[in-house]
Amino acid sequence: MSTAELRETLHVEGDYDAACDVIEQKGWSDGLPVVLPTTERVRAMLQYCDRPWEVPIGKIAPRYGHATPIRLAANAVMAGCRPEYFPLVMLAIEAICDEAFNLYSLQATTHNCSPLVIVNGPIAKELNINGGTGAFGPGRRSNATIGRAIRLAMLNIGGGTPGFGDMATMGSPAKYTYLVAENEAANPWEPLHVERGLPAQASAVTVIGAESPQNVNDHESTNAEGLLHTLAGSMRSLGINDNYHPLRAQPLVILSPEHARVMADGGYSKLDVKRYLHRHTQMRLGDFSPENIERRFRGKYEKYRNASLDEPILLGRDPEAILVAVIGGPGKHSAFVPTFGATTAVTRALKRHDGTFAGSVEEFRH
């Protein structure tokens, strides 16, 4: 608990529009108007923080700015978050600052990736986070503003400003907000956070350095093999980053509940799905352009230096490298989410400052 005061404030003469102009001129926005981070609003946000307000919970690359609760609270206010969302904003920031996630490269790269946050556990229902119909938006304040708060922190604290700290060739709509819940109620298998080692009652985020979802339409297949055939065919792609980091890539497959149900009813476990996809997304070295073969694969990886053109190119080191989540509502559309490739997904549980699992955001209130 902190008694630190909000010491530094900026006074702006004029109305809301004038204040937004100042914020835009200072480069503190994603381009959209913001909720003004008044002292009262920032203080209200910090009512849901159970740790010292001025002690960083991480450093956000590429500026390696200190992500203190006060700074994060200001960004959460600007994004439009309700105060009770704040523990989740803090948790996601902790996760993306984990060294394994490789945030520096994600921020500075010319690739168009952005952290995708998948929320699991009771907090998803408590905060009304959408994992069903239209989960990726639009519509829910929680999805829209928690994701936006993370992005604003990456801009304002991390310095991920386009052209300066973010060199994405063309950016992405996922760089405004990118947060969903897993549809655990419609998931025939164990939820993502349980698969990744947490108890079911824990609330958690999994962050994935990802592109936007690519739709996979299959209205006709009536069995698991047919659906998986369509999915695998949609995932075999020459231009995705995952191909170029074959030892590290963790591409994501998002199954619609209806597709997942058909697979489960066909006797497939989640690992069976991964095994099928890993086997059937293999490409050949000879599938790539001659210069990619010579300069990328042969030039960069010893295993391909003298390999034949029939040498398999795997999507991920092994089946377990493929991530699977169940998201969405009724319908026959799943999705493939290519990633940055040189990044490792990070799962973090919502815990109180004393290290115990938190069952509700109200446990952070003071």
């Binding site: 590429p62 390696y64 500075a108 052209g163 300066f164 700290g165 060199m167």
Partner: protein, 82 residues
């Protein structure tokens, strides 16, 4: 490069003109704002070998001049680690 420089080793970074802002910002972030930068035309990726050699031909005299500076031949001393 920044870490090497901070440890007292003279160093320079080669970047294309499109990445100079990022390189300059990162040099500031890592505490060596005057890190020497050798700038070449953009791009570097997707070039034929001949075009890469053209870039190298730009780098070599700039690198030689930097080394001359370090060794005092050009009358300029490296300022050392930050």
């Amino acid at each position: 490069m920044c870490t090497m420089r901070k440890r007292g080793l003279s160093s320079a970074v080669i970047c294309t003109e499109s990445f100079l802002k990022l390189a300059s910002n990162q040099a500031k972030v890592f505490g060596v704002p005057d890190l020497h930068k050798i700038v070449i035309p953009h791009p570097l990726g997707g070039l034929t070998r001949d075009r890469v050699m053209e870039r190298a031909a730009i780098v070599v005299p700039k690198l030689a001049a930097f080394i001359d500076e370090l060794t005092g031949k050009a009358g300029v001393q490296d300022k050392g680690g930050a």
